[in-house]
C-alpha cells in the first residue's frame, strides 16, 4: 500500500497537470485574435499504477502532450484557394484599371474619334475648296492618332506596372520560401509528432502569404514537412529544408519600345540553367500579373494595332488614287499617304516595319500624320479627276470607308476580315467588359469559397472564449481540489508527527 508521500505526489501531479492545462488555456485566450492560430488542447493521462499485492493503486495524472487542433487537408485547400482568389482579384483590378478609358462618353471615346475622323472627310466632300475644312481633316486625323496612342500608352503603363510587380513579388516569394524551409526543418525535428503547433501555425500563415503571391500546390511529406510546387506542378519551390530561388530577368528578344524588356521568371532548381517558368504560373498575383502583361492587356493592344493598321492602310490606298486642290495627282508625291510610319509605306499603305504576321505590332506607336499634308492641307486628295477643285469623289470614298466591311485584319493573315471600324471598337469594348465581369465573378466566387473554407477551419481550429472560460473554471477547480488534497495529506502527516512527538 502506497505511503503518504506517495499520496502527496499524486496531489502534486494533479497540481502540475492543472497548472499546465491552465497555461495552455491562457495561451489560447492570449491568441484569441491571432490570425491563423490553432487552438491547443492538453492530453492528460493517468500514470502507471503501482501494484501492492492484488491491488493496483493509481499514481496521479500527467500532462502527456499539447496538441494543436487542425485539419491539415482543409489548410491545404485554403492555401490553394487563396492562390486562385488573389489571382482573380489582381486580374479584376488590372482589367478594371483600363476599362474606364474604353468606355465611350460620346465625345472623346475611341469610337467618337474614329467617327469624327470620317465625318471630317464628309465635310471635306461638301466643301473641298475650303482650307478650313481641310485643316479640320488634318486636326481630326491627329486627334485620332493621339486618342489611339494615349490608350495604347495606358495599356502599356498597366503592363509595365504588372512587370514591376513581378520583380518585387519574386523577392517576397524567396523570403517566404526560405522561412518555410527553415520551419520545415524545425517541425521535422519535434520530439513528439504534432508537438510544434505554433510552428505549424506560422508555417501555414507563411504558406498562405506565399499562395497570395504565386499559384502553388502544397502537401505534407511523412515527416510533416511542407512540399511546395508551382500550381502547374512543374517547378519545385520548397522541398523539405531546401528552398529553390526564383528570379526575374529581362527578356531582350523583343525590341524596345514594343516591349520594355519585360521580365521572364525562372526557378533555379540546381540544374545547369534555371528553369523558365514564365508560362507555368497560373494563379496568385504573380500568375495574374504575367497573364495580364502577356495575354490580356497585350490582346487589347493588338486590337488597337489592327484597328490603326486598318484605318491607315485603307485611307492611304484610297488617298493615293486622288488629286489635290491644285489639280495634280498625289500618287508618287511626298503627300500620297495621309499617314506615315517611321519606315516608308509599302504597297499596302502601311509602314514596312509593320507586318500582318504579328498582328501589326507597333502600328499605333509608329503612326503620324504625313508632315507634308500637315504643312499644307491643300494636298489632301479630295478629287478623283485632275484640275477640278470642286470634285469630291475621293473625299466621299474616304468618308464611306467607315461603312465598308473587311477593312480590319483581325487574324493576322494580311486580308481584311472584320465588320466596319466601329464594330471592331465595340467588340473590343465588349471583350474588355466581359473580361472585367468574368474576373469579378471569379473573384466573388473565390471569396465565397475561401470564406466558407475559413469558416470551416475556424469551427475546427479557432479559439472560442466560452469554451476557454469553461476549461479555465474546470482546471481551476481541479487545481483547488488537488491543493485541498495535499493539505489533507499534510494534516495527516502532521497528526502522525504530533502523535510520535513526545
Amino acid at each position: 500500500m502506497p505511503g503518504l508521500t506517495s499520496s502527496l505526489n499524486i496531489g502534486l501531479s494533479g497540481l502540475q497537470a492543472a497548472q499546465g492545462a491552465l497555461n495552455v488555456v491562457g495561451h489560447n485566450i492570449a491568441n484569441v485574435s491571432t490570425p491563423g492560430y490553432s487552438r491547443q488542447r492538453v492530453e492528460l493521462s493517468s500514470n502507471q499504477p503501482q501494484t501492492f499485492g492484488t491491488l493496483e493503486y493509481g499514481t496521479g495524472v500527467s500532462l502527456s502532450n499539447i496538441l494543436g487542433v487542425r485539419d491539415k487537408f482543409l489548410e491545404m485547400q485554403i492555401t490553394q484557394s487563396t492562390s486562385r482568389q488573389s489571382g482573380a482579384n489582381v486580374r479584376y483590378a488590372g482589367v478594371e484599371g483600363v476599362s474606364s478609358v474604353f468606355q465611350d462618353d460620346g465625345t472623346s471615346g475611341l469610337s467618337s474619334l474614329v467617327q469624327n475622323y470620317f465625318r471630317s472627310f464628309q465635310q471635306l466632300a461638301a466643301r473641298p475648296e475650303d482650307g478650313s475644312v481641310r485643316t479640320n481633316v488634318v486636326g481630326q486625323a491627329q486627334s485620332l492618332i493621339n486618342g489611339l496612342k494615349s490608350r495604347y500608352q495606358l495599356l502599356e503603363d498597366q503592363r509595365t506596372q504588372a512587370d514591376q510587380n513581378i520583380t518585387t513579388t519574386v523577392t517576397e516569394i524567396n523570403t517566404l520560401t526560405a522561412q518555410i524551409a527553415s520551419l520545415n526543418d524545425r517541425i521535422s525535428s519535434e520530439p513528439v509528432p504534432g508537438a510544434d503547433s505554433d510552428g505549424r501555425d506560422q508555417r501555414q500563415a507563411l504558406a498562405n502569404q506565399l499562395a497570395k503571391l504565386v499559384g502553388i500546390q502544397v502537401f505534407e511529406d511523412n515527416r510533416s514537412r511542407l512540399q511546395i510546387t508551382l500550381d502547374s506542378g512543374v517547378a519545385v519551390l520548397v522541398s523539405g529544408g531546401t528552398a529553390y530561388t526564383m528570379s526575374a530577368a529581362p527578356d531582350n528578344s523583343v525590341p524596345v519600345p514594343l516591349d520594355n524588356n519585360y521580365k521572364r521568371v525562372y526557378v533555379d532548381m540546381g540544374g545547369a540553367a534555371p528553369v523558365d517558368v514564365t508560362t507555368l504560373i497560373k494563379e496568385g498575383s504573380l500568375g495574374a500579373n504575367l497573364e495580364l502583361r502577356d495575354t490580356t492587356l497585350r490582346g487589347y493592344e493588338a486590337t488597337l494595332d489592327e484597328l490603326a493598321a486598318g484605318i491607315v492602310g485603307q485611307t492611304n490606298l484610297l488617298h493615293r488614287t486622288g488629286y489635290d486642290l491644285s489639280g495634280a495627282a498625289v500618287a508618287a508625291t511626298a503627300w500620297q499617304d495621309v499617314f506615315l510610319g517611321t519606315a516608308a509605306n509599302g504597297a499596302n499603305g502601311l509602314p514596312a516595319t509593320v507586318s500582318a504576321a504579328n498582328n501589326y505590332r507597333g502600328m499605333v506607336y509608329a503612326m503620324t500624320v504625313n508632315a507634308a499634308i500637315v504643312a499644307s492641307p491643300s494636298r489632301l486628295a479630295a478629287a478623283s479627276a485632275a484640275n477640278s477643285p470642286g470634285n469630291n469623289v475621293n473625299a466621299l470614298a474616304l468618308a464611306n470607308l467607315q461603312n465598308a466591311v473587311n477593312t480590319v485584319d483581325t487574324n493576322a493573315d494580311g486580308a481584311g476580315d472584320s465588320g466596319p471600324f466601329h464594330t471592331v471598337i465595340s467588340s473590343l469594348v465588349s471583350t474588355i467588359g466581359t473580361d472585367s465581369q468574368r474576373y469579378e465573378t471569379t473573384s466573388t466566387t473565390q471569396d465565397n469559397l475561401l470564406s466558407a473554407l475559413q469558416t470551416q477551419r475556424d469551427r475546427i481550429s479557432s479559439v472560442d472564449l466560452d469554451e476557454e472560460a469553461t476549461a479555465l473554471l474546470s482546471y481551476q477547480r481541479g487545481y483547488q481540489a488537488s491543493a485541498r488534497f495535499i493539505s489533507v495529506i499534510d494534516q495527516l502527516t502532521a497528526q502522525l508527527i504530533a502523535q510520535f512527538a513526545t
Binding site: Q103, G109, P389, N391, H422, V429, G433, N448, L465
Partner: protein, 311 residues
C-alpha cells in the same frame, strides 16, 4: 451539434457580407448620382457594346443630316439664282416685245439697249455667284470664275461635271447644276450643235448680245430670232427650277425621316443606358437596412461572453 460554432464576430463570412453590402451601396450611389446604369464596362458588357453601336448610328445620321443641310444650302443658292435669271429673262422678253412693236422708231429701239446691257452684266454676275467659297455654276472647277462677258456673248471656264453628296447610306444627291447647262443649254466642252453649247440658240448670253445687236442695228429679224430663242431658254430655266425644287423637296423629306429615325434610336439607346431610379433607390434603401441590421447584431453579439458572468 456536430461542429463548433465560434465567436460570430470572428467570422469571415459576416465581414465579407458586410463588405459586399457596402460595395453594393457605393455602386448604387454612383449610379444614382450619374443617372447612368452603365458606369463600368463590366456591369453589362453587351449593353455597353450596344450603346456604342447605337451611338455610331446616331452620330452617323447626324453627319448625314449635316450633309443634307449643306446640300440644301447649295441647292437653295442655285434656286435663288435660277429664279433671278428667270425674272431677268421675263424682263428681257418684255423689252424684246417692245423692240418688236410696230410703232417704235430706230431711236426708240436703241433707247432700250442700255437696260439690256445692264441686264447682261447682271446675268454674268448671277452666273458667277459664289456660295460657301465656291462658284456655284462652274461644275467642279469651283475655284475658277466661270463666266466672262464678251461682245458676242460669254466664255465659260468651268466644266460639265456634277457634284454629289452622300445624304444617307448609299443615297447621293446632286448639289449643283453645271453652269453650261443653265446658260449654254448643254456641255460647253462638247462640239456645239444648233441648240446646245456656246453660240447656239440655247446660249443665253449670245441671245442677249444678239438682241442688243438687233436693237442697235434696228434689225427686227435678228430681234425676232433672239426673242424666240429667249422664250425657249425661259422654258429651259423653268424646267431646271422644277428639277432643283424637286431635289430640295426629296432632301427635306429624307432629313425628316433621318431625324425621326435618330429619335427612335436615341430612345432605344436611353433604355439601355439610363437608370431606373425607383428600383435603384429601393435597392439602396434595402442595402442600407440590411447593413444597419447586421452591424447592430454584430455589435450586440460581440459583447456576449461567458467571462462577463464570472466573478
Amino acid at each position: 451539434m456536430s461542429l463548433r460554432t465560434v465567436n460570430p464576430y470572428m467570422s469571415y463570412q459576416v465581414l465579407l457580407d458586410l463588405q459586399r453590402t457596402k460595395d453594393r451601396m457605393a455602386n448604387l450611389s454612383e449610379q444614382i448620382a450619374s443617372g447612368n446604369r452603365l458606369n463600368r464596362l463590366g456591369e453589362d458588357p453587351t449593353a455597353s457594346a450596344l450603346v456604342l453601336n447605337f451611338d455610331h448610328s446616331i452620330e452617323q445620321n447626324k453627319a448625314y443630316i449635316e450633309q443634307a443641310d449643306s446640300a440644301a444650302s447649295f441647292l437653295q443658292t442655285t434656286e435663288t439664282v435660277l429664279q433671278s435669271v428667270n425674272d431677268s429673262i421675263i424682263r428681257l422678253l418684255e423689252l424684246g416685245a417692245r423692240g418688236l412693236g410696230t410703232g417704235i422708231t430706230a431711236a426708240g429701239r436703241q433707247a432700250i439697249v442700255p437696260e439690256i446691257t445692264g441686264m447682261k452684266s447682271n446675268l454674268i454676275s448671277l452666273a458667277n455667284t459664289q456660295s460657301q467659297g465656291k462658284y456655284v455654276f462652274a461644275g467642279t472647277r469651283t475655284t475658277t470664275v466661270p463666266f466672262t462677258s464678251t461682245a458676242t456673248g460669254a466664255t465659260y471656264a468651268g466644266d460639265h461635271n456634277d457634284i454629289s453628296l452622300d445624304v444617307a447610306v448609299s443615297t447621293t444627291v446632286k448639289t449643283n447644276i453645271p453652269g453650261d447647262t443653265v446658260f449654254f443649254n448643254g456641255d460647253a466642252t462638247a462640239v456645239p450643235t444648233a441648240t446646245t453649247g456656246p453660240g447656239s440658240s440655247g446660249d443665253l448670253f449670245t441671245q442677249v448680245s444678239n438682241l442688243i445687236d438687233g436693237l442697235n442695228t434696228n434689225n427686227t429679224a435678228t430681234i425676232q430670232t433672239a426673242f424666240d430663242n429667249l422664250r425657249t431658254i425661259l422654258g429651259n430655266v423653268n424646267s431646271l427650277l422644277a428639277d432643283v425644287g424637286g431635289r430640295q423637296a426629296s432632301l427635306q423629306q429624307l432629313t425628316e425621316v433621318t431625324k425621326n429615325y435618330n429619335l427612335s434610336l436615341q430612345t432605344i439607346q436611353t433604355s439601355y443606358q439610363s437608370l431606373d431610379y425607383p428600383t435603384a433607390i429601393m435597392d439602396y434603401t434595402n442595402a442600407q437596412t440590411s447593413q444597419q441590421a447586421s452591424l447592430s447584431v454584430l455589435g450586440k453579439s460581440s459583447s456576449l461572453n461567458l467571462f462577463n458572468y464570472l466573478a
